[in-house]
């Protein structure tokens, strides 16, 4: 278990290191890069000595443009370790990190809620579809669900805004909460946050649940063909119990692996969803930074999105041995079966209520 954990953590740190380096070299080495752009912009404005320009650049990017590239790189890495990504240009004087610090919770909140909602609904629908494969309704739902999962999420966002916010005024068209509530632990604020998050979360979930349902259906169908399920049927166990404890639990394993992959996709989707809903998350600021050529904020957002994905992947990896003890160590399996059999009933029961 410990070596499994250590390996995962080491991989995570390595990936973060790569991404931070990538962000450095993209700002510094690409043609028309951010630093040259800023320098030429400042010298065009006039009235500044070369010294002052360099100080400005230093203040925004946190490195001296005249230093050798390896020195800049080390400086950048050092600052990144302290969570310092320089100062934003489009929000003068504001450190990139404080902007991101305000934005990230919104993204994590909406993505996490959407992921849980779509995962739970998808697993439930998929299990039901697998249990009744031959029925007409299943065939129709399969068709409908694969139709849904093929639609790009930003188009769903546009449709939701158009019909539910623009035409019908049921939901607010944008923002994270209304201007007339005071942020804090009061009901008006929480209610406003929930109202504002329904459409963005709905846009993620509407697209997301279809994929889960289809995968769960496929996975559950192949589990249905295994011998232990046949044995359970032969023993005369009830259908419901078989679907819950034998099929549901075993076919959920591959889905948990996919959870990690889909996290990256959902964080990526935040770039679109947050833009259209004016939801002040990190994807919103990423696009804003791109459009105003605010490279330090852009790279800060990109690095932080990646770090969020890496950390959530790590959490999923840590969750995996809990669901399937065989992952951590095959030898543990025997010893722990008795201990976990009681605990095993719990998640299976959750799957059962959905089925």
């Amino acid at each position: 278990m410990v070596s499994y954990l250590a390996r995962r953590v080491a991989t995570a740190i390595f990936i973060i290191f790569i991404v931070v380096s990538l962000s450095f070299f993209m700002i510094r080495l690409m043609p028309g890069n951010g630093m040259e752009f800023l320098q030429s912009q400042l010298s065009r404005q006039g009235g500044l000595t070369t010294q002052q320009i360099q100080q400005q650049v230093n203040a925004i990017y946190g490195v001296l443009p005249t230093a050798p590239i390896w020195k800049q790189y080390l400086q950048y890495l050092g600052h990144a370790c302290q969570g310092n990504f320089g100062t934003s240009m489009s929000f003068p004087g504001k450190p990139v990190m404080s902007i991101i610090g305000n934005a990230l919770p919104w993204t994590i909140f909406s993505v996490a809620v959407a992921l849980i909602v779509s995962f739970v609904i998808g697993i439930a629908v998929g299990t039901v579809m697998a249990a009744a494969q031959a029925s007409r309704i299943t065939k129709f739902v399969t068709l409908f669900v694969s139709f849904l999962s093929a639609i790009p999420n930003y188009l769903v966002a546009i449709l939701l805004i158009y019909f539910l916010a623009g035409r019908a005024h049921i939901f607010p068209p944008g923002g994270a909460y209304s201007a007339d509530v005071i942020p804090g632990w009061n009901w008006a604020f929480i209610g406003s946050v929930i109202m504002h998050s329904i459409l963005p979360v709905g846009a993620y979930a509407l697209i997301g649940f279809g994929g889960w349902a289809l995968q769960m259906k496929g996975s559950a169908i192949s589990t249905l063909g295994t011998e232990y399920v046949r044995a359970a049927e032969a023993r005369g166990l009830r259908r419901r119990r078989i679907m819950q404890s034998y099929v549901g639990r075993n076919s959920m394993l591959p889905q948990v692996t996919l959870l990690a992959l889909s996290l990256g996709f959902m964080f990526g989707g935040s770039v679109f969803i947050e833009q259209f809903f004016n939801y002040p998350g990190i994807g919103y600021y990423l696009v804003g930074a791109v459009n105003s050529r605010d490279y330090s904020l852009m790279m800060g957002c990109f690095v932080l999105i990646t770090i969020s994905v890496v950390i959530s992947n790590l959490l999923v990896d840590l969750l995996y041995p809990v669901i399937d003890p065989r992952i951590a160590s095959p030898a543990v399996r025997k010893r722990r079966t008795t201990a976990t059999s009681a605990a095993e009933e719990q998640p299976a029961a959750v799957g059962g209520t959905m089925a």
Partner: protein
């Protein structure tokens, strides 16, 4: 090959949604190839006729510049399909070559390349694409396709690699090795045909993924707005306030419908391929 097309036809006939998908994809391809030959957009539309309703001349009405929306849709098909296709070719090619070679060779190249694959799979693709597109800022279809394929190859590479590893120990591979066949022959003649199904399905889904990201870039205004394609149409419609008026409804919804129909067609058709290549699924 003959057997293959007979099987495909049999499955398509049984699965009506896949058949519809295949027909629609064919239709889009024809429009992309021949559309721009027959339909042209004037540099400036008829300024006197903005926001017309559907008519004989303009079946879907006109946009703010008085240009026919249907014509714009047809002209806009090629750039979208082109970039989607190129990007899918790139991701598929890189994924297959990397997967087969690392899987077959093993050893340290395998370890190193799989680390890279891990990274490419973890970094969220879309933000990376947005950032690179912002820095490079090109509207050249090849450059755009290359940007879109930046992480897309990794998933296929890993799937192909695990296939190649399991193929390595099979008899015909041992026979090929004993004969001393060169690596090129082993990869192209022995391994490739066996991973064909994965590759074909990945190729189709690769096109949908690339189109998704490409249209997204135009929607956000990150890829340069020049020429006409569906993403640019939606972008312009939105910036003209299409969300809050009914006047521009057709301008907003026509390109959206075009995208959705194409994406859904690809997904449905890829399911038929899945059935074709995966007889185990077919029985069930």
């Amino acid at each position: 090959m003959k057997e293959f097309s007979r099987d495909l036809w049999r499955i398509l006939r049984a699965d009506k949604s896949a058949l519809a998908g295949a027909v629609l994809i064919l239709f889009y391809i024809l429009v992309a190839i021949f559309g721009p030959l027959f339909f042209h957009l004037a540099a400036f539309g008829d300024q006197a006729k903005p926001y017309l309703g559907p008519s004989w001349d303009h079946p879907l009405g006109t946009d703010s510049l008085g240009q026919g929306i249907a014509t714009e849709l047809i002209v806009g098909t090629r750039p979208i399909m082109e970039v989607g296709l190129i990007a899918a070719v790139i991701t598929t090619f890189v994924g297959v070559v990397v997967g087969l070679i690392t899987g077959y060779l093993g050893g340290w190249p395998d370890v190193v390349v799989m680390r890279v694959v891990d990274i490419a799979l973890t970094i969220p693709g879309l933000p990376l694409i947005v950032v690179i597109a912002a820095v490079i800022h090109s509207s050249d279809p090849f450059v755009l396709a290359a940007i879109l394929s930046i992480t897309g190859w990794a998933g296929l590479a890993r799937a192909v690699r695990s296939q190649a590893i399991s193929l390595r120990t099979i008899d015909f591979m041992a026979a090929a090795r004993v004969q001393g066949l060169p690596l090129r022959n082993i990869v192209a003649r022995q391994l490739l045909p066996n991973v064909g199904p994965y590759v074909a399905i990945h190729f189709l889904l690769g096109i949908t993924g690339a189109i998704y990201a490409e249209v997204g870039l135009f929607l956000l205004g990150i890829a340069p707005i020049s020429g006409t394609n569906w993403g640019i149409m939606i972008n312009l419609a939105m910036s003209q306030g299409a969300l809050y008026t009914t006047k521009t409804m057709l301008y907003l919804f026509s390109p959206m419908a075009a995208i959705v129909i194409l994406q859904v067609s690809f997904v449905f058709f890829s399911r038929a391929l899945d059935n074709l290549f995966n007889p185990r699924l077919r029985v069930q």
